[in-house]
C-alpha cells in the first residue's frame, strides 16, 4: 500500500482524500505544509484542466480541505459547477458542498448554477431537492431568488415534511433578499403554522417572524393566527422563561410584571441549577426597574448566596448587592458576614469586597460601621482591599467620640489574630494614635466590657505585629511609626520602645532602616520636641490631595516654634512625611474622591442612631456619588453565567411562537 502510494504520487494525484490528509498532517512545520499543499494544488489544477470526470469529486473534496486550512482555491469553482450538473448523487453532493464552502454570494459564477438548481429543486429525489434548497438557502443572490421563488413556494406545499422545512428556511432567505416577493409567501407560511411536524413548525415560525418583520400586511394576518395558537402553550420552563423575557421587553406595567417576577421567584426555588441561574440573571435586570417586587424574594436569594454552585453564588451576590437599602442592610450584612466564615477562598474575595462596599454605602450609624468592618477584617482580613482599610482609618480619625471604643474593640479582636494584613495595619495605626484612650478607658460606651489594658499590653501588640514573619514591610513600617507615637504617649515604655526600634537599624529593607534610625534619634536626642511632634493627628479628609496637605499642614501649624535641626533629614519633615506617606502614597492615586461639604465633621455623639459616616445627610442620594472611587474597588461586573436548559424539541418550537408574539407586540406599539 505504501509503495503504491508513493508511486501514485510520482505520476499524479493522490487518489484518496484520506491519504492527502494523512500527508498534510504528517508535515512537521508550517513551511513543509505549505510546500505539500502548493504541490497538491498544482496537481489539482492540472487535473482540472484535463477535465477528467471520474475523480473530479474526490479532487474537489481535497480542495475543500485545503480551503479550510486557509489556502486560495478559486480555481476549483468551475469544477463545483460541473459537479452540480452531474447526474450521480455523490458528485452532486460534493458539488453543492463545494459551492457552499468555496463560493459566496458575491461571485458572478453563481449565475451559472441557477439552471442546475432549478432542475434539482424539482427533482423527485427528496435528498437532491434538499441539497438544492440547502445551497439556495445558504448563498442565493437576489437574481437567483427571483428566478427560483415560485419553485420554492410550490415546495412549501409539498407532502414531504423534510422538503417543507427546508423550503421554509429557503423562503426566509429569499424574502430577505427580495422583499417584493413577500406577498406570495404569506399564505403558504400561515398554512405551515398548522403543521404537525416540529421541524416544519420551527422553520415555519421562523418564516413567519421574518415576514412580520418585513411587512405590515403579513402582520395583520398573523395577529389573527397567533391569538389562536397562544392557547396551546405548555408549562415548559423554556416557555415561561421566554414569557418573562417578552414581558420585560415590552415593559408591561402592573399585573403582568408582577406575574413575571413571581414566575422568576418560582424558578428560584427549583432544585435545578440551570433554572436558578437563568432566574437570577433575569432578576438582576429586573431589579433596576422594580426593586420592590424583587424584595419579596429576598430570603430565597440570600439562600442562593450559600449555594454549592459558584456561578449561582456569584449571581446571587450581585443581586443582593443591588437589593440592599437602608432598611435591610443590617439583616443582609449579618447574613453575608455569617456566610463569609464558611465560603471558599476564591469567593471570599468577591464577597468581602461587596460587603465592604455595602457597609460603606448604607451604614445607619458609625458604631455599626466600625463593628462590621472589624468583624469583616477578623473574618477575611487578607481579602480586604487597601482602599477599604484606608477609608476606615479616615472615618476613625473623624469620629473622635468613638475612637476609644474602636481602639479597644480592635485590641480585643486582635487577641485572635491570625495574620490578617488589614487587621494588623488598622490595629497598629489605632494603637499608635489612640494608645492613651486604650489604657485610660476614656469615652467608654454603654455595654462595653471594661478591660484593664496596660501600656505594656499595648506595646506588646505592636511588637507582635512587628515581629511576625507573615507581615509585609508596609505593616512593619506602620508598626515602627506607631511605636514612635507610643513613646510619647507612654513615657514609661520609652526604653522598651527604643530597644525595639534599634532592632531594625540594620534592616535590609531601606524604609524600615531609615525609620528606625530616625525615630530613635527623635526619642534620644529630641525628646523635648517629640511630645508636640507626636500629637494626635487631626481628622483626615476624604479628599486625597487636601488630606495629604492637611496632614502636613496640621503638623506644621502645631510646631511653628520648632528649631530647624541640623540633620540632613529633619525629623519634622520626616515625621509628617512619614505620617503623610502612609496616606499620601495611597490617597494620591488615580481614584479621585469628590470633596465633601464639611471636611472636618463636628464631633458626633455616640448615642445618635442616625449618624452618617461623614456628617452629611443620610437620605441624600449624593451619598452614593461621594465615593465613586470605592465602587471601583469591587470587581467589575461579573460575566454572565448561563447554563443549558435541556429543552425538548417541541419546547424549542414554542419558544419561536413566543418570539412571534413578541414581534407582534412590538409591531402593535
Amino acid at each position: 500500500m505504501a509503495a503504491q502510494l508513493d508511486s501514485t504520487r510520482d505520476f499524479g494525484l493522490i487518489a484518496f482524500k484520506r491519504d492527502m490528509i494523512c500527508l498534510i498532517r504528517a508535515c512537521k512545520t508550517a513551511a513543509e505544509e505549505r510546500a505539500v499543499i502548493a504541490k497538491e494544488c498544482a496537481l489539482l489544477r492540472d487535473a482540472f484542466k484535463e477535465d477528467h470526470q471520474d475523480y473530479r469529486h474526490r479532487n474537489v473534496a481535497k480542495l475543500m480541505f485545503i480551503h479550510m486550512l486557509g489556502f486560495p482555491t478559486h480555481f476549483g469553482q468551475m469544477e463545483c459547477i460541473k459537479l452540480i450538473a452531474a447526474v450521480s448523487f455523490p458528485e452532486k453532493r460534493i458539488g453543492y458542498l463545494g459551492l457552499m464552502l468555496l463560493l459566496d454570494e458575491r461571485q458572478e459564477v453563481l449565475l451559472l448554477v441557477t439552471n442546475s438548481l432549478k432542475n434539482d429543486i424539482n427533482n423527485s429525489n427528496q435528498f437532491i431537492t434538499g441539497l438544492a434548497l440547502c445551497a439556495l438557502g445558504n448563498i442565493c443572490t437576489a437574481e437567483m431568488a427571483r428566478d427560483l421563488a415560485s419553485d420554492v413556494e410550490h415546495l412549501l406545499q409539498s407532502n414531504n415534511a423534510y422538503i417543507r422545512k427546508k423550503a421554509a428556511l429557503c423562503a426566509v432567505r429569499i424574502v430577505r433578499k427580495v422583499p417584493d416577493l413577500i406577498e406570495s409567501f404569506i399564505d403558504p407560511a400561515i398554512r405551515l403554522l398548522g403543521d404537525k411536524h416540529h421541524g416544519v413548525l420551527i422553520s415555519g415560525v421562523k418564516l413567519c417572524i421574518e415576514l412580520c418583520q418585513a411587512s405590515d400586511v403579513a402582520l395583520e394576518q398573523f395577529r389573527k393566527v397567533s391569538t389562536n395558537t397562544e392557547g396551546n402553550k405548555n408549562a415548559g420552563h423554556a416557555i415561561l422563561y421566554e414569557c418573562v423575557q417578552t414581558i420585560m421587553a415590552i415593559e408591561a406595567i402592573g399585573g403582568l410584571r408582577v406575574l413575571a417576577i413571581n414566575i422568576l421567584g418560582r424558578f428560584l426555588a427549583f432544585p435545578d441549577n440551570n433554572i436558578r441561574y437563568v432566574a437570577l440573571n433575569t432578576l438582576v435586570k429586573v431589579v433596576s426597574i422594580d426593586t420592590q417586587a424583587v424584595q419579596r424574594h429576598r430570603a430565597t436569594i440570600v439562600e442562593c448566596v450559600k449555594d454549592s454552585d459558584i456561578s449561582i453564588r456569584r449571581r446571587a451576590l450581585d443581586l443582593v448587592y443591588n437589593l440592599v437599602n437602608e432598611n435591610n442592610v443590617k439583616v443582609l450584612t449579618k447574613e453575608l458576614v455569617e456566610y463569609l466564615k464558611v465560603s471558599d477562598p476564591e469567593f471570599k474575595l468577591d464577597l468581602t469586597a461587596k460587603i465592604a462596599a455595602l457597609v460603606q454605602k448604607f451604614s445607619p450609624s458609625q458604631r455599626w460601621y466600625f463593628d462590621q468592618m472589624i468583624l469583616l477584617m477578623v473574618q477575611a482580613g487578607q481579602f480586604v482591599a487597601e482602599g477599604v482599610t484606608r477609608f476606615l482609618v479616615i472615618v476613625i480619625s473623624n469620629a473622635s467620640e468613638l475612637q476609644g471604643y474602636v481602639v479597644r474593640t480592635l485590641y480585643r479582636s486582635f487577641q485572635d489574630w491570625r495574620g490578617q494584613e488589614s487587621l494588623a495595619q488598622v490595629t497598629v495605626w489605632c494603637i499608635g494614635e489612640y494608645g492613651d484612650l486604650l489604657v485610660n478607658h476614656s469615652n467608654e460606651l454603654q455595654g462595653e466590657d471594661p478591660q484593664t489594658i496596660t501600656e505594656s499590653d499595648a506595646v506588646d501588640v505592636v511588637e507582635t505585629i512587628l515581629k511576625d514573619v507573615q507581615v509585609t514591610p508596609i505593616t512593619q513600617a506602620f508598626a515602627l511609626t506607631a511605636l514612635l507615637k507610643l513613646s510619647s504617649r507612654f513615657p514609661q515604655c520609652t526604653e522598651r520602645i527604643k530597644a525595639l526600634l534599634s532592632g531594625y537599624k540594620r534592616s535590609h529593607i531601606l524604609e524600615l532602616q531609615q525609620r528606625s534610625n530616625e525615630f530613635e534619634s527623635i526619642i534620644t536626642r529630641h525628646s523635648s520636641i517629640s511630645a508636640s511632634l507626636l500629637e494626635r493627628m487631626p481628622p483626615l479628609d476624604v479628599d486625597g490631595s487636601s488630606s495629604a496637605m492637611e496632614a502636613d499642614a496640621g503638623v506644621y501649624t502645631n510646631h511653628t516654634n520648632l528649631q530647624q535641626p541640623s540633620e540632613a533629614l529633619s525629623p519634622k519633615n520626616m515625621n509628617s512625611s512619614a505620617q503623610a506617606e502612609e496616606f499620601t502614597v495611597n490617597l494620591l492615586d488615580v481614584l479621585s474622591f469628590q470633596p465633601i461639604e464639611n471636611p472636618l465633621s463636628p464631633p458626633v455623639s455616640a448615642g445618635d442612631a442616625l449618624l452618617n459616616l461623614l456628617g452629611s445627610s443620610l437620605t441624600s442620594p449624593s451619598n452614593v456619588t461621594m465615593f465613586p472611587g470605592f465602587l471601583h474597588l469591587t470587581k467589575p461586573p461579573m460575566i454572565k453565567t448561563w447554563a443549558t436548559l435541556q429543552c425538548q424539541f417541541n419546547q424549542n418550537l414554542l419558544v419561536y411562537f413566543l418570539q412571534l408574539w413578541h414581534c407582534k407586540q412590538m409591531a402593535s406599539r
Binding site: 508511486s7 477528467h52 460534493i94 460575566i639
Partner: protein
C-alpha cells in the same frame, strides 16, 4: 441568525468551518485566529458566551462548548437564544456521536464532508432547521446510503496503470 459554525481543536486548527455570511478567505482565517485567541484564554469553568464585536460586527456573540480536544463554536446575533444555541451544540455533538460511534477528533478530520452533511441538516442559511437528533440521523444515513450507491459507478483506483491509460 447564526453567522458561523466552527469546530476547531485546542491548538487552533480549524476542523470544520462554515460561514453563513459572505467573508473572503483572508477574513475567514482572521476570524478563526481571533476566535481561537479569545477561547484559549478562558478558564474551564467560565461561562460559554463571549462577545465578539470586533470580528463579526456589533451585537454578536460566540456560544461555545469545549469537548475533549475540540471547541464547538456558533457565532450568533441577538435574535438567537444563547441557551438554545448551547442545546443545539449538544444536539450536533450527539448526532456526531451516533454517526461515528464514539466520535473523536480524527473522525471529524477525515470525514469532514460527512460532518458538513450533518451540520447542513441542522442549520441552513444561518437558521435552525432541525433540532431532533434522531431525525437528523435518519436523513444523514439515507444520504450516505445514496452516496455509497452512487460511488459504485465510479471506476475504482487500481494503480497508476489504469489512471494513465484513460488519459
Amino acid at each position: 441568525m447564526i453567522l458561523a459554525a466552527l469546530v476547531m481543536n485546542t491548538q487552533g486548527k480549524p476542523r470544520i468551518t462554515k460561514f453563513y455570511v459572505p467573508l473572503g478567505v483572508e477574513k475567514q482565517q482572521e476570524a478563526i485566529r481571533t476566535i481561537y485567541s479569545a477561547l484559549s484564554q478562558r478558564p474551564e469553568d467560565s461561562c460559554s458566551f463571549v462577545e465578539t464585536e470586533d470580528i463579526f460586527g456589533p451585537d454578536t456573540k460566540l456560544v461555545y462548548k469545549h469537548f475533549a480536544t475540540l471547541y464547538f463554536i456558533f457565532v450568533i446575533d441577538s435574535s438567537e437564544s444563547e441557551l438554545g444555541m448551547l442545546d443545539l451544540i449538544q444536539v450536533f455533538v450527539e448526532t456526531l456521536d451516533r454517526c461515528f460511534k464514539n466520535v473523536c477528533e480524527l473522525d471529524i478530520v477525515y470525514n469532514f464532508n460527512k460532518v458538513h452533511t450533518i451540520l447542513d441538516e441542522i442549520v441552513m442559511g444561518g437558521q435552525v432547521v432541525e433540532t431532533n437528533s434522531a431525525e437528523v440521523l435518519k436523513a444523514v444515513q439515507d444520504i450516505w446510503k445514496l452516496e455509497r450507491v452512487g460511488d459504485l459507478n465510479v471506476p475504482s483506483v487500481r494503480g497508476i496503470g489504469s489512471y494513465r491509460s484513460k488519459s
